[in-house]
Subunit: 197 residues, 2 copies
DNA sequence: TGTCAACTTGACATGGTGTCAAGCGTGAGT
DNA sequence: ACTCACGCTTGACACCATGTCAAGTTGACA
C-alpha cells in the first residue's frame, strides 16, 4: 500500500506482471509483454528490476503485502486447539494459493534454469513449511498427532498436501471449486495426521 | 528391447537423455549436451528426433518399454480386493516414479513454453489417472469408498497424492527414503479414501 | 536557465533452438 | 571394381528472448 503511493510505475509493473501470469500461461509472459502491459518500454523494466527472476520475486513479495498475509494468518495462530488450528491454517493458506498461483508457477518453471528463481521459490516454500511445522507442533502439544508419523514427517506430508502443485492439479486441471478443495484437504489432513482415538 | 537391437544410435540417444536428466537439473540439459553424451553431432540428433519436446516424449515411452510398466502393473490388477489393490497400485507406481522422475520433470518444465510437451505430459498423466480410476472403482465395488467423496473426486485426490511433484517434494527435497514414501502414501490414501467402519 | 530523474529509442552481445547445404565413409548389390 | 544410398559430420545461418549500453527527450523543481 505504502509502496503503491510512493512509486506508481513500479506498482503498475508488478500489477501487470501479476495479471499477465494469472491469465496467460507463465513462460509465455516475456519481458516485452510485461512492459507493454505496464505501458513503458522494455528497457525501463530494467531500471526497476535487474532481471526477470528478481521481478517475479518482487511480485510475490508485493502480493504478500497487498493481501496482508500476516493479518490473514492471525485466526490460525490464535486457534484454541490443534485441530482447529489445522483447519484454520488450511483454510487461510488454501484460500491464498489462488492469488499467488500464477506467479508461483512462473517461479517454479524457472527453478531449473535460474538459480535466483530457485532461491526465491525456496524462500517462499520454507515460509509455508514453517506454518505447517507450527500447526503440527500444536497437534503434538495436544497429543493429537498420529503415532505413525514423526513430527518432521507430519510437517513434510502436510506441506506436500498443501503444495501449489496439488492445488493446481485439483482446482485447475480437475476443476474443483475452491471450497471443495478446502473441505477435502481439511478432511484428508485430519485423517492423515490426527490419531484415531 | 526390440528397438535397442534395431537402432543402436537411437537407443544411445535415449539412454544419454535419460541419464543426463537424471543427474543434471533438467533445463540445464541442452541438445548439444545430449549429443555430446551420445557421442554424435548435435545435428545428428535432429535426424532422429524433430525437436527437443519429441525427444523427451520418446524418452518416456522408451522407459516404459525398458521397465515394462505393463508387466509390473499385473499384481495390482489381479488383487483380490479393493484395499489390496490400492496398496499394490501405490507400491508399483510409487516405485516407478524414481525411474521417470528426471524426464517427467523436464517435460513438466516445458509445458508452459511448448504445447507439444504439454500434450506429451498430459498423455502420461491421463494414463496414471486411469490407473487411479481403476483402483477407486475397485474400492466402490467392494463398498469401501468413503461416503465423503464422489468417485471422481476420489480419483482426483489419489492422482494428486501420487503426483510426481509430491514424490519429488518428499523424496528429494525432504529426503524421505523410498520405502517410507510408499508406506506413508499407502496409509494416507487408505485413510483418505476408505470408509471408516 | 540549469539540472536531475524517469523514461524513450535504437543498437548490440549472448546463448539456445532449429534449418540448410555440402561432404565423407562404408557396406550391399551388381 | 563401381556406385549408390545411408548415417553421420562440419559449418553456416535465421530466429528469438534476455540483458547491456549509449544517447536522447521530457517535465518538475530551484
Amino acid at each position: 500500500m505504502m509502496s503503491s503511493e510512493k512509486n506508481p510505475t513500479r506498482t503498475r509493473i508488478l500489477s501487470a506482471t501479476r495479471t499477465l501470469l494469472e491469465t496467460q500461461g507463465t513462460a509465455a509472459v516475456r519481458m516485452s509483454d510485461i512492459a507493454k502491459a505496464a505501458k513503458i518500454s522494455r528497457q525501463a523494466l530494467y531500471l526497476h528490476f535487474p532481471n526477470r527472476a528478481e521481478l517475479l520475486r518482487a511480485t510475490v513479495r508485493w502480493l504478500d503485502e497487498v493481501y496482508d498475509i500476516e493479518e490473514r494468518l492471525r485466526p490460525s495462530r490464535s486457534a484454541p486447539d490443534g485441530r482447529t488450528r489445522l483447519n484454520a491454517w488450511i483454510s487461510v493458506w488454501g484460500g491464498y494459493i489462488p492469488q499467488i498461483q500464477g506467479v508461483a508457477r512462473a517461479l517454479q518453471a524457472m527453478r531449473d534454469t535460474d538459480a535466483e528463481a530457485k532461491a526465491a521459490w525456496d524462500d517462499r516454500m520454507t515460509a509455508v513449511r514453517h506454518g505447517c511445522a507450527a500447526v503440527v507442533s500444536a497437534l503434538v502439544a495436544d497429543g493429537l498427532l498420529t503415532p505413525d508419523l514423526a513430527e518432521d514427517e507430519a510437517t513434510d506430508l502436510l506441506h506436500a498436501l498443501l503444495s501449489v502443485q496439488t492445488w493446481e492439479q485439483l482446482c485447475k486441471d480437475s476443476a474443483w471449486p475452491q471450497e471443495r478443495y478446502i473441505a477435502v484437504m481439511q478432511q484428508t489432513a485430519e485423517r492423515a495426521l490426527i490419531r484415531t482415538v
